[in-house]
């Protein structure tokens, strides 16, 4: 099991990477390689050109400013997870990353690679979507920023053009007093999950739900926003019954059918439980709870 032969390109600038990408029909980007190399080892992917971004320090950064966490595409998942400034601005980011694969995989895997790969079972695309984050891509005609909700189009399919590269992910910080939770249910720790849920929760001065964000992975052909649940919860007083009802409401968002290990009904059951549980966790982390 070896990758088939390919032309190997090692650009030293983003400009050069874009030029190389424009020159070839069939190029792939090599970031952390944790999804790409397995598919090349199996020869599911036989790219003509592999463009290795490892020299692009300009894409390897994490910045927190003006209420936004900006993560360069080549920042390693593990580095972002261990960044205390990121965790202070938005603790949901660390909690989500801890559920991505295993530490040894996160040591190499990049944030940009996971987003570009666009696996609907993956945690990071769901984090970006739930947080209403944004993804910046860059191609021959320059940079453009796409709302995460519009970026993920289908399984392994994004709004990126073939000649574009993903350069940055932007995730809003949480507001003071805003609660958060990410949890998933997987058959073994580190496996892709049956379902996973991300939540943020903010109460108003009247102790009613002022703003709630809810998203899920593993249940549809893209990361799923549970907008119906969000609407249902907004303006109401939090209670265990309310959270359980929100869970029941979430069931309809499951659109994937049965797979070899998991039936649709079981997935709905897991999702409902996770929604209620994560809302409860987020609630305990709100101000004054």
């Amino acid at each position: 099991m070896k990758p088939s032969a390919f032309r190997y390109a090692l650009p030293s600038t983003l400009r050069d990477a874009i030029d190389i990408r424009a020159r070839f029909e069939d190029s792939v980007i090599l970031a952390g390689g944790q999804s790409l190399i397995p598919t090349m080892n199996f020869r599911l992917a036989n790219p003509e050109v592999v463009i290795d971004l490892r020299k692009l320090d300009e894409l390897n950064y994490v910045r927190v400013a003006d209420g936004v966490v900006r993560i360069g595409a080549m920042a390693r998942q593990r580095v972002v997870e261990q960044n205390d400034e990121v965790a202070a601005a938005n603790p949901l980011i660390r909690e989500t990353l801890l559920n991505v694969a295993h530490p040894v995989i996160r040591n190499r895997g990049t944030v940009g690679g996971s987003l570009a790969h666009a696996d609907p079972s993956a945690e990071l695309p769901t984090l970006l979507t739930t947080m209403r984050g944004a993804i910046t891509v860059c191609g021959p005609s320059g940079r453009r920023t796409i709302a995460a909700e519009d970026f993920f189009e289908f399984i392994f399919t994004t709004a990126m053009e073939p000649d574009e590269l993903l350069v940055e992910a932007a995730i809003p910080a949480l507001e003071p007093g805003e609660g958060w939770a990410f949890a998933e249910f997987a058959r073994r720790h580190g496996d892709y999950s049956v379902a996973g849920v991300a939540v943020t929760l903010k109460l108003g001065a009247d102790r009613r739900i002022d703003r709630v964000r809810l998203g899920a992975c593993g249940i549809a052909t893209t990361p799923a926003l549970l907008t119906e649940c969000e609407r249902f919860l907004t303006g109401k007083s939090p209670s265990p019954e309310l959270f359980a009802e929100a869970g029941t409401l979430a069931r309809d968002a499951v659109t994937v059918s049965d797979d070899s290990a998991t039936s649709k009904v079981y997935r709905q059951h897991v999702l409902a439980g996770l929604v209620a549980r994560n809302l409860t966790t987020a609630m305990t982390r709100t101000d004054g709870a």
């Binding site: 099991m1 070896k2 990758p3 088939s4 032969a5 390919f6 032309r7 190997y8 390109a9 090692l10 650009p11 030293s12 600038t13 050069d16 190389i20 090599l30 390689g33 944790q34 190399i37 397995p38 080892n41 199996f42 592999v50 290795d52 490892r54 020299k55 593990r78 694969a101 295993h102 530490p103 040894v104 995989i105 040591n107 190499r108 073994r188 720790h189 580190g190």
Partner: protein
């Protein structure tokens, strides 16, 4: 600032790496995996290859001090890096690394196929966590969940992780 470079398919590329403290300069094919570079080209067969798609952990080595899958890394990607394999764990005088000692004492291996990968992952863990001596089983299992063993049932591996932390601590 280094130049942008491109290599034809099957081109040989010279890479300079430090392997277990020794400087190595070798020509490699661009499609050669790090695992095969270590095993076939350098004859360091301690690094085992189980699945070649990142799932079993047998091929774990350290790249610049951090555990990584050598089967999911191209040899050309580690040009300029320092690599440590299981052959580099023991001390120069032959005395065992705390992880090796602990695996031996706790009977944490049977066939030994998974062992090099486990030991490299655990060695990385020891560098990162100072609470392992008293850690709950669950939290240890979570951190080694990326490595698969088909023989031991994991109980003794979990004990060995704790014992390795103890031994590291004794050495100060």
């Amino acid at each position: 600032m280094t130049e942008t470079t491109e290599f034809e398919p099957n081109a040989l590329v010279r890479i300079n790496v430090e392997v277990n403290g020794r400087a190595v300069s070798e020509e490699v094919s661009t499609r050669l995996l790090l695992s095969d570079f270590l095993r076939h080209q350098l004859r360091l067969t301690g690094t085992h290859v189980g699945c070649e798609h990142g799932v079993c952990g047998a091929c774990t080595v350290h790249i610049d001090g951090t555990p990584a899958r050598s089967c999911l890394t191209l040899a050309v990607q580690v040009d300029g890096c320092s690599i440590r394999t299981v052959e580099g764990l023991a001390n120069a005088d032959g005395s065992l690394h705390p992880v090796q000692q602990a695996f031996k004492e706790c009977h944490a291996l049977q066939c030994g196929f998974c062992t090099p990968g486990f030991m490299m992952a655990v060695a990385g863990l020891l560098d990162e966590r100072d609470d392992l001596r008293t850690a709950e089983d669950d939290s240890i299992r979570e951190d080694i969940a990326g490595n698969v063993c088909r023989c031991t049932g994991y109980m003794n591996i979990v004990s060995a992780v704790r014992r390795a932390a103890e031994l590291t601590n004794e050495k100060g």
